[in-house]
């Protein structure tokens, strides 16, 4: 299933946040969104997932979600959003219960996603007993449990330290390589973008417009540290972002 953004514009009151955004999120690819702070990346993701309505334009689903998909558009939140009163197992079963999946059937799914995120030993733990990286893996496991057609990830690794982030990036690459998923991935971190993105959308400062779309056709599994081609792309992205950030600063000075 593909997602198409058709001339999306969005304003909060008088503040225009997004302007005329059109792009595709193709099936089986990870599309990264980068852009200066406050340019509307989180807003865009909320629009894609239907948590908010765009002022103008439409978000379209092309094709049908894969078989067995319970929740086509599924978020992984920056702050994990785990219920503190439910165990790891309970947090995942939460999203299955409403689809009538209970008992042994739910246990099979939960065991599978916990194994895929290397959490099998922590099924009974409460969120407060887990480290940040583990909490985010639980959130990823929960998202996988509903077999999403598209994962909407808003800075999923930002709350984590850099080593944990590296490890989780490896985990995401491994997950994707085993079974490719579609994702819209918002990040501040350009290294993350070039590591995970098949396509990187650079947004301008507010109001966010598409400034450039960079395609990286190198397979995810081959993208190692210190790869010169990736570093060039990252530098190119960084130059664009720096210009935007500087321009945003100067706008403030003009006021």
């Amino acid at each position: 299933m593909d997602i198409r953004l058709d001339a999306i514009s969005h304003s909060y009151g008088d503040t225009e946040v997004l302007r005329d955004i059109s792009l595709d999120i193709p099936n089986g690819k990870i599309v990264c969104f980068v852009g200066p702070s406050g340019c509307g990346k989180s807003t865009l993701l909320r629009l894609i997932g239907g948590l908010e309505r765009a002022t103008k334009g439409r978000v379209l689903q092309l094709g049908t979600p894969p078989e067995g998909c319970l929740n086509p558009l599924t978020y992984v939140f920056q702050d994990f959003a785990l219920l503190p009163w439910r165990s790891v197992h309970g947090n995942i079963s939460l999203v299955l219960e409403d689809h009538g999946i209970k008992g042994a059937q739910a246990d099979t799914i939960i065991a599978d996603v916990l194994a895929r995120t290397k959490l099998s030993d922590f099924s009974k733990a409460l969120p407060r007993q887990l480290s940040g990286g583990m909490k985010q893996r639980v959130a990823i496991a929960r998202a996988l449990a509903v077999k999403p057609a598209v994962m909407l990830m808003d800075e999923p690794l930002s709350a984590l330290d850099s080593q944990t982030r590296e490890l989780l990036m490896d985990d995401l690459v491994a997950l994707w390589t085993r079974q490719s998923f579609t994702a819209a991935y918002v990040t501040h971190n350009l290294a993350e973008a070039v590591r995970l993105g098949h396509r990187i959308v650079v947004l301008s400062r507010r109001p966010g417009e598409v400034r450039e779309i960079v395609e990286i056709d190198m397979p995810l599994a081959d993208r190692s540290h210190g790869n010169t081609k990736l570093e060039q792309t990252q530098k190119h992205l960084w130059d664009m972002m720096r210009d935007e950030a500087r321009a945003a600063d100067e706008e403030l000075l003009d006021v």
């Binding site: 319970l70 599924t74 978020y75 219920l83 503190p84 999203v95 409403d98 929960r142």
Partner: protein, 269 residues
Amino acid sequence: MSDATAPTQPIEVRFRGGGFAPKARRWVGLFVFVFLIGITEIGTRQGWISSLTLPKPSDVLATFGELWESGLLFKHLIPSLSRLAVGAAIGASIGIAVGIMIGLFSYVRAGMVPLVAAIFPIPKIALLPLFVIWFGIDEASKYALIAFGTFTPTVVATYGAVDNVDRSLIRMGQSFGLSWLSIVRKIVLPGAMPGILSGLRISLAIAIILLVAAEMLGAEYGIGAYILEAGSLYDLERLFAGVVILSLLGVILSTVIGFIERRLLGWRA
């Protein structure tokens, strides 16, 4: 720092963390009670507390023993307990339901919040004659008074607690396509539970106060009637025996809520 030449002694860093995390210290509460009662006992025995000021705790205990032996204790206690249970259960459950509605629906909020604010400061005891007219002199008016008095603090605590539920968790529920009812049952209610329970502590104490008030105004049996009778005869021992029963009731209810909190809110620790 000021004198570079003097060799400075290493100073151990002063510990300034800790605290702000109350732990279970079971015996301290008991000790406070024993201490206060002990002082009173000694004072009344030695005479520096006159017997007009306070009765001897041992005499109060003896009165209590008589109450027990004559079977009068349960004759007074059982009607009181059932009034408390029925009244508080009605008031708290309606209060929680209305509080949740206020927390969830804008129109209910707009309509009910001013109403609750208007009802809250009314001394409910003043309304007892009204309740007697509406519900008769029997049990029903006592239930109504207690229920009404428990209702308002429960509502206020509940909607405050619902307001404080982490919105990002609710968004999460919506993003996974949970039904409205599931979100309320599995996210809003458990999230509001800490606030609801601490509200119940206050509501139940108020229920005990109103129980006594209702019984003072018209009941043959009940702790309130017993205290009123003792008071009109200036029988301090019996008065205090009644008061001790009320205090015990308060302690028991508070312990029960503490137990429920440990069961339901273990995830907070």
